[in-house]
Each structure stands twice: as structure tokens, then as C-alpha cells.
């Protein structure tokens, strides 16, 4: 058995090229005769465009053309599509106003494209863009999540009265009655009003695209920073560009991070494809950091009231959630899904709460559109739940650990049907909590707190027990809930004649380590050395179909498709081996790369079988096709449910309000682990992301929709010195619903860290009478909370 199979922490195959500057990113695609696009963007949050005079720009040196929204209409270019429909409680479909690729009539957020200049050089395009004259008439804006849907707020779209996109009840109207009853009977209640603030994704590589239209065969090729090349092709081709799928190739080469923001189709990609088709020349675009700040889809942005009812024993009896979710100015591809089915379905958490209901109002505002961002809906759900549980611990006088224990779904209660649609397949929550408390030295906290106090500091400890649903998604269920696509994954496993293997997958690797992990699956199952396996992703001309990488789905869905394809390889290999070994196929066994006639020492390696398949001189050609190349689709029967227990310990300088995260223990259960090192890396990244949201990140807009956090000078990202050295451990509860027993890992850290951190901060401040501080919990907000507490 070659080394590097499942369970081995092999170093990432892709890192050599990344670390030595040999990566091949979108902007590295250089084409003869290429043109450069510069996007002229609205400086206003809300403005009527008035007249648009492009004559000076069009006449500027090097300019080939200047495109406007009217040109897009004239050429039959469609708006950017939305991939998920939500039905309001009154049965009406969500408001889905057109999102033109170039603004028409009005600009609705700062950064919206109002004209595109295509020129021979990037500088010429940027120079000419300054010559486009637009008669903006600034309009009053609706930029505040909480108030956007109230009467009297400026209206953004004619199609969305009161800026309301949808008004959604879940799980069903009757659920609210059961929850009301729980509150009437409650011995204790806890309530919090909280904000899950808007954050900006910040992939290290900015978005970029290169489009090339070949008039000869009428084929369009788009290289772009995409997490899901096939979905990009489907959405752009069918809805925006009217470019037939078989005449449209989308390639997502190396991509430097996505976090969800590179799933949706973007205006810039459509614009350069369209321009390339018009001009019959390659056209490229590279986002500057400042553009990415306002145009990469943002995440979160909820204002929520959460209430929890408990009985006299501290058992949760009812949960009620009311949320206003900000969609931004237009509906990005998966925006409606996030505050609905990726959100409210997680309200049970790890607990047995029998009655749960929620209402979500999604609103349009004059801000950048929002879409999936690491966790997408699940961080928001987990945050409110884990926060209100700490508040309930206060209300009941039960310790935060104990109250969680009392309400955990027991390890022997699976499969467990939650009241919010999800059927949990497996779980062992208390074990993870026990390990986390032990590792975090929970019982020794008092001594550390005293030491901090002796030093003039305050110290707090907090826990969070997050769960998430990953592995989107069972297609049929997703379809019932509004998905406009299937959510299976595909894979092709191809033996080459000399015994090496090429895997074509519909997922995409932009930091997750697929080139290594997927190869490990092949090494493990087929016995092919790791270096003889190549994983190819992100190319619609090479992988048959794919839904891409997001929602921590790649291993459990895509990896399962690879596994299924390998089963087919083994099946066919057995037939070839039975011929070569002159035995009945039923007697052929396969293990670690070798076919054996059972009970004998007659064997043949899979490499020789592959060779025979491609050089079929001695081969059962009458019964079997040559070749050893199999394809499989995997459509999961359910989501899978990673869970964790996190313990965070903070120290606060009461004089300045500065919070420092002193310790962080994370015990994750992500099912079977293929590469422990990569899993650790994913957890580290997720925790840093989550601590970033808890303590520092936050997109701020003024009342006109002007972004106040438009650069890294004002938007705070976590850095190496923000986080402590994480203490990680894991339990393994394999997922019974996929052949690998795998669950997702990419998001759980970002989901669980914010409530763990805020619970710790509130624990430190509680002696002053503080029971909540909104994220980001900056030094200023802590200082302010302390001042207010002292004043009252």
C-alpha cells in the first residue's frame, strides 16, 4: 500500500507551485491582441443617472469602445440572475428586480458599474473613464438594515414596495402557535437584541477575468476567479449572455481564496464576455483592492431579536427569532437562500428545543449586494442561539456548561428530527464538550481570572457548541425549497495507459487542498502512489459537470463522487483481471491496488490491468470495451452535520477596553478525516475568520450609502497577532450518509468562534452589569459598555 492514503498528513501537492510563484492565476492568462476593461463605478449610494455622455471618453487615446446600460439592452444582454427563489408568508414570490450588468436609470450602490471603457491599455481605459460625463442626481438613500422596510424610507426598486424582498415565516404558521404556548408556560425566558454585522470577504487574489471570443467557431472562453465554473457558465450563458452552453467554456484556474464571494456571476465578467463578442478581441479585467471592497459580495448583515423559553429545570421549550436581513441593492445569486434555509434550519443547534419559529424580512438597501460568506446563514443562526443560551443561563442561574448539557440531543437519539426541517444523522455532543472543557482547563479558570485581576485586567471565559449543515445538497429537497439548480457533484477517474491516474472533478480548489486530499482518496482506494495522481478542476471543457466548491461540500459530495467512480473502476478492473488471471469474476478480490483470485496467490496489479485496458492485445473485447475511465455523479441523500465545542478565554484591559484572546480550544467533529494537517488548517482559518468577525471586522456605510470602510486602513482584518496559538482536538463521528463518512470542515470555525468569543467577553464584563455587546467588539465598544454600566 503506497503512503499518503486516508489519514495521512501529507504536505499539499499544490504548495510547491504556490510557494515558488508558479501558480497560474486568471491574470496570468495573456492573449494576443487583448484589450483592457475599466469599470466606471457610481460614487453615489442612490442616484438617478440623468444624461450619460461618452463622446469624450470614446475619442480618448487607445479607447476601442465605451459601453453603457442602454447598449446592453440594445444587444439583448440580460440581468444577473438569482439562483434561489423564496416565497413570502402570504404566498407571493420574492421581489426580484432586474440587476442590469451596467446600471440603467439609477445607480443603487456605491461601486455599481455605470459605464465600461475598453481600451488598448489599462491606463488608457482608466484615463478615459474620467471623461465619461454622467448627470447624476443624488437621491435619498435607504442604507440602514433595520429601518429599510419602514414607511417613509426612500424606495430603491419599483418592484419592491417598502424595499421588501420577502417576508418569510418558518417552519410553518402553526409553529408560531406552539412557540407562543411555550412562552406562556415558561418558567424563565431570555431575550437578546443583536446585530450580526456585515463583513467583507477579502480573498487574497482580487477578482479577475479574461474573455476571448473566437468568431471562427463562435465559441466564448472565460477565464475567471470562480468557485464553480459550470455554475458560472450556466448562469452567465443562459441568463445574461445568451451564449449556448456548448459554445461557452469557463475556466477557473488557480484562485487565491473565495470564501463564497467567487460563486456568483458578476457584472464585470458578463461585460467583458459581451465586449469580447462585440469586438472579436480578448478583453480582460482585474479588480483593484478598492473595487473588491465594494463589489465582492459581502456577508451577514442581520438585525435580530431572539427569545428563548425555558421550563423550571432549564430545558429549552421554545425559540422565537425575528430577523431583518439586508440583501444589499440587488439580489446576488444565492442571497435569498442565506437568511432562510441556510439559517432558520439551524436554530435547533445541538439542542432538543421542541418548538421553534421565525420570521425573516429581507430588505433591499443602497449597499453592496450580499451573498454567501464562509458559513453563510449558519454563523448568524449559531451566534444568536449560543448567545441567548448564555443569557438563559443567567436568567435561570444555571451554569452555561450545565444548561447546554441539559439540553443536548443525546448521543443515542440519532437520527434526530429537528423542528426546523433538518434530520440530523449522527452526533455525540457531550463528548466533544467534555474534551474541550478538559483541554481548556475550564476548572482552573478561577485562578487565571484572579491573576488577571491582580494585574488590573478583567478575564472571561465562554463556550459555544456550534453545529452546521454542510454538503449541499440533496437536489430534490433543494428544489422543493426554491433552488433553481441541482446540487450533486460529478467526478471522472481516468487511468492512463501507464497506470497513472487523472481525476476530473466538478469542484474547485481555491485553498482547500483538493489536489492533495482527492489524490489521497485514490491512493487509499486504488493503491496508486500519490505522485501518480493528478486532480483537474475548474474547467467546463474537462469535467463533465459540477456544482463547485462552497458550503463545505467538496469532500463529502465531490469526494463521494470520486469514490463512486473508483467503485466502477474496480468493477471493471475485476472483469479485466478475471480475464487475465483466467478466473471467474466472482472470485476476484481487490485490495490496495492488487487484484487477487481469492484463496490463491495469483495476483495482478491495477497498473497492469490499466495497461491491458489500453493495449488490449489479451482482452475480452467481445464483452468489454477497452479503456479504464469511469464517471460518477453523487447526489447526497441528506446534508451532513459537523459539530464542535469551543472554549474561548479573553482578557480585557478595562482602562482602554482592549480585548485580547488569550486561549482558544476547539474540539471539532468533522467525521472521517482524510488529511489531518489540512483539516487543522481549515479550522485555524475558520477560527481566525470568526475571531475577526467577533472583534474587528465590520463594513460600515453612512446614511447615504457611502462606505466608510473602503480600504484596509479602515476595515480591520485579523492578523497573526490577533489570535492565540489554537489548541485543537477532534472527535470522529462518521457521517453515515456518504461512502467516505466525511463531513464539511471549511466553515465551522467561522461559525462557532464568534459566539464563543462574545460569550467570553460578556462573561468578563457581566460583573459590571453588561449582558451584551454587539460585534465587532472593538476596544471602543468595550470601553463604551463599561462607561454606560458605570453610569447606570
Amino acid at each position: 500500500m503506497p503512503e499518503g492514503g486516508i489519514g495521512a498528513s501529507v504536505k499539499r501537492k499544490e504548495d510547491f507551485r504556490f510557494l515558488t510563484g508558479r501558480g497560474n492565476y486568471t491574470d496570468d492568462e495573456v492573449r494576443a491582441g487583448q484589450l483592457y476593461a475599466h469599470m466606471l463605478r457610481s460614487p453615489h449610494g442612490h442616484a438617478a443617472l440623468g444624461s450619460i455622455d461618452i463622446s469624450k471618453a470614446a475619442a480618448a487615446p487607445g479607447v476601442v469602445c465605451v459601453l453603457t446600460g442602454a447598449d446592453a439592452d440594445a444587444d439583448g444582454i440580460g440581468g444577473l440572475p438569482c439562483g434561489w427563489g423564496i416565497t413570502s408568508k402570504d404566498g407571493s414570490p420574492m421581489a426580484e428586480p432586474k440587476w442590469p450588468i451596467i446600471a440603467q436609470g439609477k445607480a443603487r450602490y456605491v461601486g455599481e458599474v455605470v459605464a465600461a471603457v475598453i481600451a488598448e491599455t489599462a491606463e488608457q481605459a482608466a484615463d478615459a473613464a474620467e471623461l465619461v460625463e454622467i448627470g447624476y442626481q443624488a437621491l435619498d438613500a435607504a442604507a440602514v438594515t433595520e429601518t429599510a422596510h419602514l414607511d417613509g424610507t426612500p424606495q430603491i426598486h419599483d418592484e419592491a414596495p417598502n424595499n421588501l424582498c420577502f417576508d418569510w415565516d418558518f417552519p410553518a404558521p402553526e409553529a408560531a402557535d406552539a412557540v407562543d404556548a411555550a412562552f406562556r408556560a415558561a418558567a424563565h425566558t431570555a431575550r437578546l437584541q443583536l446585530v450580526n454585522q456585515r463583513i467583507i470577504p477579502h480573498s487574497m487574489e482580487p477578482r479577475a477575468a479574461v474573455a476571448e471570443y473566437d468568431k471562427g467557431d463562435e465559441k466564448l472562453t472565460l477565464y475567471c476567479t470562480a468557485q464553480a465554473a459550470h455554475a458560472m457558465r450556466l448562469l452567465l450563458g443562459a441568463f445574461v449572455l445568451n451564449q449556448p452552453e456548448h459554445k461557452f467554456r469557463v475556466v477557473a484556474p488557480d484562485v487565491g481564496g473565495g470564501f463564497g464571494s467567487k460563486v456568483a456571476p458578476y457584472a464585470e465578467y458578463a461585460i467583458i464576455c459581451w465586449a469580447s463578442r462585440r469586438l472579436e478581441r480578448p478583453v480582460r479585467w482585474l479588480g483593484e483592492r478598492a473595487e473588491c471592497f465594494v463589489t465582492d459580495a459581502h456577508g451577514r448583515d442581520h438585525v435580530t431579536e431572539v427569545e428563548l423559553a425555558l421550563d423550571g429545570d432549564g430545558r429549552f421549550t421554545g425559540l422565537r427569532v425575528n430577523t431583518v436581513a439586508n440583501m444589499g441593492a440587488y439580489l446576488s445569486a444565492f442571497a435569498p437562500l442565506i437568511p432562510t434555509y441556510l439559517y432558520a434550519t439551524l436554530f435547533a443547534g445541538q439542542y432538543t428545543t421542541p418548538a421553534i419559529c421565525c420570521n425573516v424580512k429581507a430588505v433591499f438597501t443602497n449597499t453592496s449586494p450580499v451573498d454567501a460568506l464562509r458559513g453563510a446563514g449558519r454563523p448568524e443562526a449559531t451566534y444568536l442561539l449560543e448567545r441567548v443560551i448564555d443569557e438563559a443561563a443567567q436568567a435561570t442561574g444555571i451554569d452555561p456548561v450545565e444548561i447546554r448539557r441539559r439540553n443536548f440531543i443525546a448521543a443515542d437519539a440519532f437520527p434526530y428530527q429537528t423542528p426546523v426541517a433538518l434530520l440530523y444523522d449522527s452526533g455525540a455532543y457531550e463528548r466533544a464538550l467534555d474534551i474541550a472543557l478538559e483541554r481548556a482547563d475550564w476548572s482552573g479558570f478561577g485562578a487565571r481570572k484572579s491573576a488577571s485581576e491582580a494585574d488590573g485586567k478583567m478575564r472571561g471565559i465562554g463556550i459555544a457548541a456550534p453545529i452546521e449543515a454542510t454538503g449541499a445538497a440533496p437536489s430534490a429537497i433543494a428544489g422543493q425549497l426554491g433552488a433553481r439548480a441541482g446540487l450533486y457533484e460529478s467526478a471522472q477517474v481516468r487511468f492512463n495507459a501507464t497506470g497513472t491516474v487523472t481525476v476530473f472533478a466538478g469542484t474547485h480548489n481555491h485553498g482547500q487542498g483538493h489536489e492533495t486530499t482527492f489524490a489521497q482518496l485514490v491512493t487509499d482506494k486504488l493503491g496508486v502512489p500519490l505522485e501518480n495522481v493528478e486532480v483537474v478542476e475548474g474547467d467546463t471543457d474537462r469535467a463533465v459537470m459540477g456544482m463547485g466548491t462552497y458550503g463545505s461540500r467538496s469532500l463529502s459530495v465531490g469526494g463521494s463522487a470520486i469514490d463512486r467512480a473508483m467503485d466502477k473502476i474496480i468493477d471493471k478492473g475485476k472483469k479485466i483481471a478475471s480475464h487475465l488471471l483466467e478466473a471467474s469474476v466472482d472470485d476476484i478480490e481487490f485490495d490496495s491496488g492488487t487484484f487477487t483470485v481469492s484463496g490463491t496467490d495469483r495476483t495482478i496489479g491495477i497498473g497492469e490491468v490499466a495497461f491491458a485496458a489500453y493495449v488490449p492485445h489479451n482482452y475480452p473485447l467481445e464483452e468489454l470495451e477497452p479503456g479504464l475511465d469511469e464517471q460518477a455523479f453523487f447526489d447526497p441523500v441528506n446534508f451532513n452535520f459537523p459539530f464542535a465545542s469551543y472554549v474561548c478565554e479573553v482578557e480585557i484591559d478595562p482602562e482602554t477596553g482592549t480585548v485580547s484572546v488569550e486561549r482558544f480550544t476547539a474540539v471539532d467533529d468533522v467525521g472521517n478525516i482524510v488529511n489531518p494537517m489540512i483539516v487543522e488548517g481549515q479550522v485555524h482559518g475558520g477560527l481566525a475568520h470568526g475571531i475577526g468577525q467577533a472583534l474587528m471586522e465590520g463594513a460600515v456605510f453612512d446614511e447615504t450609502g457611502q462606505p466608510l470602510t473602503g480600504s484596509l486602513m479602515d476595515y480591520t482584518l485579523p492578523r497573526a497577532d490577533t489570535v492565540p496559538s489554537f489548541d485543537l482536538d477532534h472527535t470522529v463521528t462518521p457521517c453515515p450518509m456518504n461512502p467516505l463518512g466525511a463531513k464539511g470542515v471549511g466553515e465551522i470555525g467561522a461559525i462557532g468562534a464568534p459566539p464563543a468569543a462574545v460569550n467570553a467577553i460578556v462573561d468578563a464584563l457581566r460583573p459590571l452589569g453588561v449582558n451584551h455587546v454587539d460585534m465587532p467588539v472593538t476596544s471602543q465598544s468595550v470601553w463604551q459598555a463599561i462607561q454606560s454600566a458605570k453610569a447606570s
Binding site: 491606463e123 482608466a126 478598492a290 460600515v700 472593538t778 471602543q780 463604551q784
Partner: protein, 265 residues
């Protein structure tokens, strides 16, 4: 970025005449401020005149109780200078807290004080130590150099050649960094100088300023308690998403107190 002419000056005189002779000429030192500004199309100079090739503009020397730092000395050089660390450790430490390693390897003291960003660190040291700014034309007292937000006493074509810092008996700088940019939200430089205690505050207001009440109190007793209860008014202070004027005013007191404690060792 707009096009501009690039020239590399061979002497101070050469640099000055190149800048004054150009339509809209600017000196280029470390480029850490001016290059990003040009890249964002917020400035459109016709000529950039690079000071990096001028002999003798970057030296650091200590003699006769004065630390002299050349206008082109990089933050990293000041931070690493044993002579500075020996004479005015607070100054070396301040330089080591500017930006990140890349910025410190490029950015210069001349560029920093000429730019006079309200949140920059060096202005606190120049005022806090009662330094003198030397230019190709004259000597300017530190107290008179910084005249307002991004404004200095420098005239067109005037070039900072060096800054001389009298060695104090003790000094310290405490910075409360902006979490995003890590410039100073509030930075307080305190020093016991021959002319009496000095307290200079950067980051909090539109321009570096001294706090007379604290200086007086420290004159009585150079101890943290002397300033711990002195509150400054927040009327003229900056306010942004990171820190309200009220919070900044509070931080001035806290940082002043901690700086005095640090100066006392």
C-alpha cells in the same frame, strides 16, 4: 496612476531646483505615502524627484547631547540604531512601531514629518523632545513645524535635511494603534527635557499638540499619578468609526499615564 516624470537627484541643490523648476514637482523619499496616493489617482504630480541618491541625507549621529537623524533615514534604521537606542530609547522604539517591516524599510523621517499625517508617530517625538527641523534654507523649531492637518511650516521647494533631537533625561512613547491601519489613534510622547517636561499628543487631534496642564503637573512630580486625573477636552479631537472624540480624550490620559510610568522605567 497618472504618468509623471521621474528624476533622481544627485544633491540637495539639484533636488530643490528640479522640484521648483517642474510644473508640479514633488520630492520622493520612501514613497510610502505619495506612491499610494498617486496610484489611487488622488494626486497628479508632474515630476517626482527621488532623494534616495543624495549623499549624506540618511545618516544618524549622536554627539554633544543631540541625536541627529538625516531626512532620508528609514524608520528601520532609526529603530535598529544602537546609538539612538542608547541616547533616546523612546525614539528608537517609536520608529519600530511605525507600520510594518516593509513600511519601515522604505519610509523616512523627512517624508513622515513633511507629510504630517494627523495619526503619524514622528510628530509626537519631534514636539515631545523639542527637536529642531533642519531644511536646505533654515532651522525650524519642532513646536513651530506642524501647523495643521497635513500642513507644515515647509515652503515650496523646501527640503528637510535632518532633524536634531536633544537627549532628554528620560522619555517614553505610548501608542494606542488604530486596529486597521495601526497608525496612532492616540500616541503620547512624554519627556523630561532640559527645558522642563513635555507631553505631545498625536492621533487624537487634527495635528500634534502639547498638553500644558500635564506638563505642569509633571513639573511638580514626574509620576504617572500626576497625570492620571487630568482630562483633556474632546471638543477639538478627531472622531471616526474607530474612536469617538470622547474615547480619544480618555485614551490621551491613559497613554500619558502609561508613558510616564514607562519613562520612569
Amino acid at each position: 496612476m497618472y504618468d509623471f516624470n521621474y528624476r533622481k537627484a544627485s544633491s540637495v541643490g539639484d533636488a530643490v531646483s528640479a522640484v521648483t523648476g517642474a510644473e508640479d514637482g514633488r520630492f520622493l523619499a520612501g514613497g510610502m505615502t505619495i506612491i499610494p496616493t498617486i496610484k489611487q489617482r488622488l494626486a497628479k504630480p508632474s515630476d517626482l524627484v527621488d532623494l534616495a541618491g543624495i549623499d549624506g541625507l540618511a545618516g544618524i549621529s549622536v554627539s554633544g547631547g543631540v541625536v541627529e537623524i538625516g531626512g532620508m533615514a528609514r524608520h528601520a534604521e532609526v529603530n535598529a540604531s544602537a546609538a539612538v537606542a542608547d541616547a533616546i530609547p523612546a525614539l528608537a522604539q517609536l520608529a519600530g512601531g511605525i507600520g510594518d517591516p516593509q513600511v519601515r524599510n522604505r519610509g523616512t523621517i523627512g517624508g513622515s514629518i513633511a507629510n504630517n499625517d494627523p495619526a503619524a508617530d514622528y510628530p509626537a517625538a519631534v514636539v515631545g523632545l523639542g527637536a529642531t527641523v533642519h531644511t536646505n534654507r533654515r532651522e525650524i523649531a519642532g513646536d513651530a513645524f506642524f501647523t495643521g492637518m497635513f500642513e507644515t511650516a515647509l515652503e515650496d521647494g523646501e527640503l528637510v535635511t535632518k532633524v536634531s533631537f536633544p537627549v532628554p533625561s528620560k522619555a517614553a512613547y505610548m501608542k494606542f494603534p488604530n486596529p486597521a491601519s495601526r497608525y496612532a489613534i492616540v500616541g503620547v510622547f512624554v519627556a523630561a527635557t532640559a527645558g522642563g517636561p513635555r507631553v505631545a499628543v498625536t492621533g487624537a487631534g487634527p495635528c500634534v499638540f502639547r498638553v500644558a496642564e500635564m506638563e505642569q503637573a509633571l513639573g511638580g512630580s514626574f509620576a504617572p499619578e500626576a497625570v492620571a486625573d487630568i482630562k483633556i477636552g474632546d471638543g477639538d479631537l478627531n472622531s471616526d468609526i474607530h474612536a469617538s472624540a470622547e474615547y480619544r480624550a480618555h485614551l490621551v490620559t491613559v497613554m500619558a499615564k502609561r508613558a510616564v510610568a514607562r519613562a520612569n522605567g
